[in-house]
């Protein structure tokens, strides 16, 4: 019997990517995507279910679909643009309801994979240069997003303890760069000027977006449990990152840089969430040997992730590329596949030919 997988955050970038990746997995029979709004990407065979952001109806969905694996990608790890309340609702309450549904009596779920972030370690002068999965957090979280992630991970830990037969994996991802993902950091790096804190040149570590998808897939397929750091090999100074991306550093005063930068943030010139300020002072590095020992192979180091991003930046900026065409094409595909107005069935077959099983 094949596996039945539920992916949360199906309407977000990561949920969409994960569903697309898992759709190619022949071992997975049923794939259910859960999201709060219509997904941005088209799914070949996954079913999409719309839910509120705290997943309060999840219990019934889990029961009805009899999923054995839950892939929780819906965690906000970038506080720019997200109000504090939303971050709390999504990360803390969403995770709570998800775990409640997965751990309910007679729940069919065997495995839970949680996409977390290296933000749970924080970044201060007191922290070690390299965090292992066992490094305890040395100080109370200061930003809303960190606090919510620490709280969510605490619930995941309790859940794993209360359900010893359940495979619970938490993946802590470094800051992500790639050709498609948009984060505060990638937005800053794509502009002519990018913030730094005067007198600090921290070492930062990145993970390439495809490696994020591959790591989540790896843990799901190999049924791993435990906590894993996920980051590309090596670290580079922030000044190098900026130089590779072809942007100039604008040093902010080291005392209260967020006040100095506030007008620029309002004007949309910079993105400067509180967790970025800490990173731009002290950086963050992770030991990734545990996941490598489990058999995972990275395609990209930190430096090559930055370089790939820089190349895609160059392509994005070049005037020829337009994404509007893709959107039109997608709409036409949709029409061919699902619309009753399509009279000629051969067109429907041609377009559906790429999907492994035809829709019922």
């Amino acid at each position: 019997m094949g596996r039945r997988v539920l992916v949360t955050g199906a309407d977000t970038y990561w949920g969409g990517r994960m569903i697309q990746a898992l759709e190619a997995d022949a071992e997975i029979d049923v794939l259910v995507g859960l999201g709060t709004s219509a997904p941005a990407v088209t799914f070949e065979r996954a079913e999409f279910v719309r839910a509120d952001q705290t997943y309060s109806i999840l219990n019934r969905i889990v029961h009805a679909t009899q999923v054995d694996t839950v892939l929780h990608t819906f965690m906000i790890v970038d506080s720019a643009g997200a109000p504090a309340r939303t971050i709390h609702e999504v990360n803390v309450i969403g995770t709570m309801n998800l775990l409640a549904a997965a751990g309910a009596p007679s729940s069919p779920v065997h495995q839970v994979v949680v996409k977390s972030s290296s933000l749970v370690y924080g970044s201060t002068e007191r922290d070690p240069a390299t965090f292992t999965e066992e490094t305890p957090r040395a100080h109370a979280p200061r930003s809303v997003v960190e606090r919510s992630l620490v709280e969510a991970e605490g619930m995941v830990r309790d859940f794993a303890e209360d359900n010893p037969s359940m495979l619970v994996a938490t993946l802590r991802f470094a800051d992500t760069l790639g050709s498609d993902i948009v984060t505060s950091i990638s937005k800053n790096l794509s502009r002519p000027m990018c913030p730094s804190v005067f007198g600090f040149d921290p070492l930062v570590q990145f993970v390439e977006e495809d490696d994020v998808v591959r790591a989540l897939e790896f843990v799901t397929q190999h049924r791993l449990a435990g906590t894993y750091n996920v980051a590309g090999d090596g670290r580079l100074p922030w000044s190098d990152v900026a130089a590779i991306c072809g942007t100039r550093l604008l040093p902010l005063p080291p005392i209260h840089p967020s006040f100095a930068v506030a007008p620029l943030v309002l004007l949309g010139i910079f993105d400067f969430p509180p967790e970025l300020e800490a990173l731009l002072r002290y950086g963050r590095g992770m030991d990734t040997s545990r996941l490598v020992a489990a058999g995972f192979e990275y395609h990209c180091s930190s430096a090559s992730a930055v370089q790939r991003f820089a190349r895609s930046l160059h392509q994005r900026k070049s005037p020829r590329r337009r994404s509007a065409g893709d959107v039109c094409e997608r709409n036409v595909e949709q029409l061919f596949r699902h619309s009753r107005s399509v009279a000629c069935t051969s067109d429907r077959d041609v377009s559906a030919g790429r999907a492994p099983p035809p829709r019922p």
Partner: protein
Amino acid sequence: MPQGPEPTRSGQRDSGRSDVDEWGRSERVRALARRIYGPVYSRWFRTEWEGLDKIPDAGGALLVGNHAGAIPNDAPVIMHGIETELGRPVYGLADYFFRSIPVIGTLWSRAGGVSARPDNAYRLLRDQGQLALVFPEGTKGPSKPYSDRYQLRRFGRGGFVEIAMRAGVPVVPIAIVGSEETMPVLWQVPRIARALGMPYFPVTANVLVMGPIGAIVPFPAKLRLRVLEPVTFDVEVDQDRYPKSKVMEESERIRQTMQAALYDMLSHRHSIWFG
């Protein structure tokens, strides 16, 4: 758009631009620091070593020294000496306070400074087999008055012994004579230290003799360093905790060996300036 379709500079490179390792140390910055510090090391302080061969050529070792002088010169002298004589990098462990100072924190890190956290020391010594330098007296060493010169302070809580035990590396004690006279502390101004958030704020003889420039310029005392017999511990490595009695006993024994070596070196010293 000012940026336009101009090619990114990454095209010509295959990896990052600088040679910074995971600790923030840059060999290029070290080479520059050695060029600048070279004359200070050999002309100003006329540094001389004894027993350099006792420092292992390979594998991890925890170097411990006595810490003295308002702005201690012992750390750069030991790092410079071992790097030029043995060709091995030395990571200097120091208070995390340095990391939070703009510019200085970054330079300190590029020059081989690492904050003295047990996790950092363990990773350096056990996982990477590097040389790490630590001053177990901490700020109590350089802040002590000149009248207490060469009187070793308490060696913290013996954390350095515990880390060496866990990492399974020897402790190599280094006794330094002359450092106390490079920048003697006459008295302390705790109020200014508190206001500036610094661990201590001394008034040094250098400032009285040389004026403001004396705040950073040391006296040209002759520096002699003696590497003592490496200390190994007969305990299981990689334990979470070691008996405090054992740790404190070893720590105290190392402190006494160093104190004895200091007295011996001082008794053979004829002049502060010529050794």
